[in-house]
Amino acid sequence: MEQQQNSFWASKKKQDKMVSLVLYLIAWTGALIFVIPLVWMVSTSLKYPTDIFTTPPKWLPISNIQWKADSTVRSQQAGYVKLAKGANGTQVIYLMSSTKRTAKVVDTMKLSGAAKLNVEKGVYVKEGDIVAELPKTGVARVNGNIIMITDKDGNIIDTIETPPNSKIKVNTGDRVNENDRVAVIPPQWHNYMEAWSPKALSETFTTYLLNTIFITVCGLLGTMLSSAFVAYGFSRFKFPYRDQLFLVMVSTMMIPAQVTMIPTFILFKYIGWIDTFAPLIVPTFFGGGAFNIFLMRQFFMTIPYELDDAAKIDGCNYFQIFWLILMPLVKPALVTIAIFGFVYNWNDFMNPLIYLNSSSKYTLALGLQTFTTMYGSYYHLMMAASTIVLLPILIVFFFGQKYFIEGVATSGLKG
């Protein structure tokens, strides 16, 4: 890929340092934008539900739970008997004498020991006045995932219920101030468990994964064997109409699948193959697709014919030449085909959608789509499920990127 000095940006003159720096920054900014969706997927998949819908968004799937002391208890509406509720559950009853906006407190009653009354009998209050206040510091009392904050007499100021698997950062007896971090919500790995075995669906991703692996492995076997077989024929033999047939084959790449899809479906329906894996596997044994034959044929052309001739003299027949002599030599092309075929099968949606009806036969793509119809608003689970589906592809990609890039570059086609 990067053989010679590149020539567009600078050939003779040294490339301008400034230009180079600007381009470098642009390239990395773009790359950042390109990875964000994937990073965001993984980050969301590990979040606690309440951390998903936030503005600004939280980048990391770790969040602090602070004690948001809401200490003021305000008068709400003047009336005869009013109950002012503090946000933390503190209640102050105050009685007023008038229905006007300003009213006289005729009596008070304290329901929570921690609140300090700001008003007393006889004073006038208006709507919005602070009638009571809670302390902004307290002592923590931890009970499981519940943190209670009390004053020094043991009266409860606030109760914080943390998510079940969060890490409590305070101990019983610790002093806690307003806005102190009391707990941390760690990455929610169990989201993956939940997504893997969704309660609303009858199947788990184990089923989808096994089905997909089965279809992919069989499909790859068919594709690799038959495309090499056919490419061997196209590259090593001379027969009437060979070049015309080859041209026909290449031009079939331009036929939209939808034209052949419906009669093919009817054909498989009559054979009784609907809701089986056969329609997804069997066709791959018939050439394995124009793209793959093309790629294999290009590769066969690079292998010297002397090898065939030598083998022939040694008494090999054409099958033996193909299988024993040439197949080991075209391994790199086979790997390229395998990798593209893997990605194609893994991502394929339309064929499984058409041919598979029962959910026990679903592939990952189909299972994932069904998942979204049930869990459309549970983004943490949708992202976890998407990560599950994408992870194998990402792994294959990182190990085989050389083959991807060479495959695309030599064929001029993307997968």
């Binding site: 010679q4 567009f8 061997y232 939209p256 050439g287 979204t372 998407s386």
Partner: protein
């Protein structure tokens, strides 16, 4: 070296020819069973009415007549055009620009290429789901990014005016696949051409306009044809993002989704085949037009104009 060794080394014996046919026979069979046969069957079905239960009925041009009066067909054709007209040129320009940017000698260029290429292998249901989340009007990253620039983002997939632009934006995430093709093309441009241009005092723009682009045109041409063929077949993203409906208000009802509805939901096989042929015809017209106008802009080596 340049002639096909097969034609030099091997005699055109009927024996050898027979073996050639043996080896390509799987493809020939597949061609008959899964390509040629179905194409003919599909053409026949396009003139029939069939729900797979009752006997086939020949109806002549009824399906095509129905199609002309079918408002939803025109909507779906329009949506497919809209998507193609924006996604293909933007995708090509984008991938050429990224390829130019990646045609560098930085140490990190390999990593950068990997990053740009990566999204194109994730195409499918999962990436559609990721984008549903990115396009979320209230908490999605895209509208958050826009709000940082002081723009109030649209409702994207929930707004019929913005659902198609959303699909186009999403398609641009996959420019890495084409980038690799252009990168290979760029690296095949002979250095001397750039050097000659520089001697003539050409700046970056002139080199780009008069050397890079002309040398890339054969690649662009091929890529353009295939991109159009593929973009006319957009389906999975739309199906996933709209639950198979093509909403809101049919704004993302693309042709293939419409074909899918008739073939596999309503079992109107004849009409579905007619629709599929309409799609094929549109693709063929586009491809043919491109071949027609190709002579005007596609340069092959040796005829580089200055």
């Amino acid at each position: 070296m340049s002639t096909n060794p097969a034609s030099v080394r091997h005699k055109t014996g009927s024996h050898e020819a027979a073996w050639g046919y043996v080896f390509i026979s799987p493809w020939i069979l597949g061609m008959i069973l899964f390509v040629g046969g179905p194409i003919i069957a599909s053409l026949v079905l396009a003139f029939c009415k069939w729900d797979l239960l009752t006997p086939i009925q020949f109806v002549g041009l009824d399906n095509f007549a129905q199609m002309f009066g079918d408002k939803k067909f025109w909507i779906s054709l329009g949506n497919t055009f809209y998507y193609t007209i924006f996604a293909v040129p933007l995708g090509i320009v984008g991938s050429i620009l990224v390829a130019l940017l990646m045609n560098q000698e930085w140490k990190s260029v390999r990593l950068l290429r990997t990053i740009y290429y990566l999204p194109s292998v994730t195409a499918g249901v999962a990436s559609a789901i990721i984008w549903m989340w990115l396009f979320n009007p209230d908490f999605g990253l895209i509208n958050y990014g826009l709000s940082m620039m002081g723009i109030k983002g649209p409702l994207w997939l929930a707004d019929e005016a913005w659902s198609k632009p959303a699909l186009v934006v999403m398609s641009l995430w996959g420019v890495g696949g084409n980038m690799i093709i252009y990168l290979a093309g760029l690296q095949g441009v002979p250095r001397q051409l750039y050097e000659a241009a520089e001697i003539d005092g050409a700046g970056l723009w002139h080199k780009f306009r008069h050397v890079t682009i002309p040398m890339l045109t054969p690649v662009i041409f091929f890529n353009l044809i295939m991109s159009i063929v593929w973009s006319f077949q957009i389906f999975t993203q739309v199906y996933t993002m709209t639950g198979g409906q093509g909403g809101p208000a049919d704004s993302t009802l693309v042709l293939v989704l419409y074909i899918y509805h008739f073939a596999f939901k309503y079992h109107h096989m004849g009409y579905a085949c007619a629709l599929a042929w309409a799609l094929f015809l549109v693709i063929m017209i586009f491809t043919f037009m491109q071949f027609k106008i190709a002579g005007g802009w596609v340069h092959y080596e040796g005829e580089l104009k200055k």
